[in-house]
């Protein structure tokens, strides 16, 4: 049910002899038809129909083909009940082909035909054969309409208008008939227990049937012995409907009851169209046999001339070609650009070597820059008050030699301890310590600072507070 909400309204069409009626939702149209001597539609008429249908469809556009249920006039339509040997559903078409071959004047390939099994409902055969209703018409008729509707973007399904009208009958049990009186002709279809038994076309309009008894005589003689029902449903006839309804029992038999079926007069609304509508909208109402072309050769063959199929085939072929050629096209198209870019980049590779050289050189400088100032700062911080420096020598390899004097050996020890504690020196040794008579100790020390990697984590230098104090100190 959810899907039905989003499904667009199908187009319901009746193609008569002199007019085409179409209904889609509440929108309808009627287009007069002009035909050639052979019954085919004329070129201008086709254009007119196409334009009108496109206008009807253009009111709402859909990205796919709309289904069109199309009821055609009964001209050339043949309805027969055929008994066939029991066959599976998938084999029924093959069996029916043989029967049609033998019973119809045209070969099955030249017909558009549809069928319905009758055994399940209505008439039950006493024999082993199953009864099948076959409805057929010349293939050319359907092909012409199918092409016309296909050009309008529709996907048509064909049936016979007389049978579609039969769906409006309130009671089809027993024997009844339906007479549709049109502008140029009348169609008669008879039913036995809901199964159509025959269809006739009479070349008289409502005016002719109202005015002339001769027309009724011809109808009466044509039906004599072929139909024995008591109810005739009447559709069409326009304003002459009441008159025609009176004529039916008078000419076809006193016991016959004529029941007119009222159809609202509006564009696109005919008895056949409303029958199709009932069939689509109401569950349990079966569509009359659908007329299809089923030739042996064409059944399995795709119709490449169909615009939609051709469009899809072209799209598929294009995508296939694209998939196959894109890798090669990429190589052919992009290789020159890539090669040019690579040449430029390779030309710049020389610069990379220079970067390496400069980096190596600068890193060497950084690693071999001796921390003389750091060492001097630490020694100045560690030296006791009154200490006197006589000579200080430092080398790039980290060797420090110091000569000086301090007040006592305890200060020498403290000085040494502070230097070691700073973490800057890996070893500090007092090479010589000589007390003098002036209450002093002459000292000679050597030290070795740690390698650069080990010194990296040390925080050496004046703190922010010390810097601020130094700035505020008055210059001497």
């Amino acid at each position: 049910m959810t899907g039905a909400v989003f499904r667009p309204h199908p187009v319901l069409i009746e193609i008569g002899v002199s007019s085409l009626h179409a209904l889609r939702g509440d929108d309808g149209l009627e287009v007069p038809l002009t035909r050639q001597h052979n019954g085919r539609l004329t070129g201008p008429c086709k254009e007119q129909v196409t334009a009108a249908l496109r206008e009807l469809l253009a009111r709402k556009t859909w990205p796919f083909r709309l289904r069109a249920y199309c009821a055609i006039a009964a001209n050339g339509v043949s309805i027969r009940r055929i008994g066939v040997p029991p066959a599976a559903a998938d084999q029924l078409d093959g069996v029916l082909r043989l029967q049609i071959e033998s019973q119809f004047p045209l070969a099955p390939d030249e017909l558009a035909w549809g069928s319905r099994r009758l055994n399940e409902k209505g008439v039950h055969s006493a024999t082993a054969h199953q009864q099948v209703l076959v409805v057929a018409v010349k293939k050319d008729v359907i092909d012409e309409y199918a092409k016309l509707l296909g050009d309008c973007g529709l996907e048509p399904v064909f049936t016979v208008a007389a049978l579609a009208r039969g769906l409006l009958c309130s009671e089809q049990s027993g024997s009844c008939a339906m007479l549709n009186v049109g502008r140029t002709q009348s169609e008669w279809v008879s039913f036995e227990n809901d199964v159509p038994t025959g269809v006739r076309v009479f070349p008289w309009s409502a005016e002719a049937l109202s005015a002339s008894d001769g027309a009724w005589d011809a109808v009466s003689s044509a039906l004599r012995g072929k139909w024995s029902g008591k109810i005739v449903y009447l559709t069409g006839a326009g304003e002459a409907k009441d008159n025609v309804a009176l004529q039916v029992p008078r000419h076809l038999g006193a016991g016959i009851q004529c029941r007119p079926i009222q159809v609202a007069a509006a564009p696109g609304r005919t008895a056949a169209v409303l029958g199709l509508k009932k069939c689509i909208e109401q569950i349990g109402v079966q569509l009359p046999p659908v007329l299809k072309t089923r030739t042996h050769t064409e059944q399995a063959k795709l119709d490449w001339s169909a615009p939609a199929l051709r469009k899809w085939a072209i799209a598929v072929a294009f995508l296939l070609v694209l998939v196959l050629t894109l890798p090669y096209a990429e190589a052919l198209l992009l290789k020159p650009f890539l090669a040019r870019r690579m040449t430029v980049l390779k030309a710049g590779l020389g610069r990379l070597a220079t970067i390496d050289q400069e980096l190596g050189f600068l890193q060497f400088m950084k690693q071999n820059q001796p921390p003389y100032l750091d060492a001097l700062y630490l020694m100045a911080q560690s030296a006791p008050p009154g200490a006197r420096l006589e000579s200080l020598t430092m080398s790039r390899r980290g060797e420090v030699a110091l000569r000086g004097s301090m007040r006592n050996s305890q200060e020498v020890g403290e000085f040494r301890a502070k230097l070691i504690k700073s973490g800057f020196f890996s070893e500090v040794s007092v090479d010589e310590q000589v007390p003098t008579q002036q209450q002093k100790v002459n000292v000679r020390m050597t030290a070795q600072w740690k390698p650069a990697e080990a010194r990296e984590l040390l925080s050496i230098g004046p703190t922010a507070e010390e810097l601020a104090k130094a700035k505020n100190e008055p210059k001497k």
């Binding site: 400069e358 980096l359 190596g360 600068l362 400088m365 071999n368 820059q369 200080l392 020598t393 790039r396």
Partner: protein, 186 residues
């Protein structure tokens, strides 16, 4: 000319189709091989480009480090001329010493040392106040020349008090040696 019979027409048609299919297949295979070769070359080129891109990615970091060090030392190795760098460095050192208030008393230059990375060494003697001596030691690294202080000797001077005698041995590095080293690695 005698009109062809349907049988002959059929034979001719089949023959033409056969020849057409053969030519199509033959030409198609040739074309396919050529295209496949081009595609293979292109794939190789793409692989090389990706490898090059990865290499260049590494050099982005190196370039940043080089830029920072050049800024720290005020030094662009590419602009150093081997023939003049010692003279320029010597002049810059003397100028910096004079500007810092520690006049240089002696400069002795000697050619390269054994390590091979050094272009020349200089012995510089100067005397002045302790802050000026410390300032000179700090400024030597940012003069814009590849100068390393090999050794320093500080000797306090009795007169006037607060003066110090500075004896330094400097080495001037030879950037050409790094170029030769890199070339040898390649």
């Amino acid at each position: 000319m005698r009109p062809l019979t349907p049988q002959e027409k059929r034979t001719l048609r089949l023959g033409a189709i056969g020849v057409g299919v053969y030519l199509l297949l033959f030409g198609g295979v040739q074309l396919w091989r050529m295209l496949e070769r081009r595609r293979s070359d292109y794939q190789t080129l793409v692989t090389q480009a990706q490898a090059l891109k990865a290499d260049l990615g590494l050099y982005e970091t190196k370039t940043l480090v080089v830029g920072k060090l050049m800024k720290d030392y005020h030094l662009d190795p590419g602009k150093l001329a081997r023939a003049t760098v010692v003279a320029q460095a010597s002049a810059a050192i003397q100028e910096a010493a004079m500007a810092g208030g520690i006049p240089i008393t002696a400069v002795r230059e000697s050619p390269t040392r054994s390590s091979g990375k050094e272009l020349a060494s200089m012995q510089i003697e100067a005397a002045g106040p302790v802050p000026a001596a410390m300032g000179l030691l700090a400024r030597l690294q940012t003069l814009g020349y590849p100068v390393l202080i090999d050794s320093v000797q500080l000797t306090p001077q009795p007169n006037p008090p607060g003066m110090v005698k500075l004896n330094m041995t400097l080495v001037v590095l030879d950037f050409e040696q790094w170029k030769k080293k890199e070339a040898a690695h390649e």
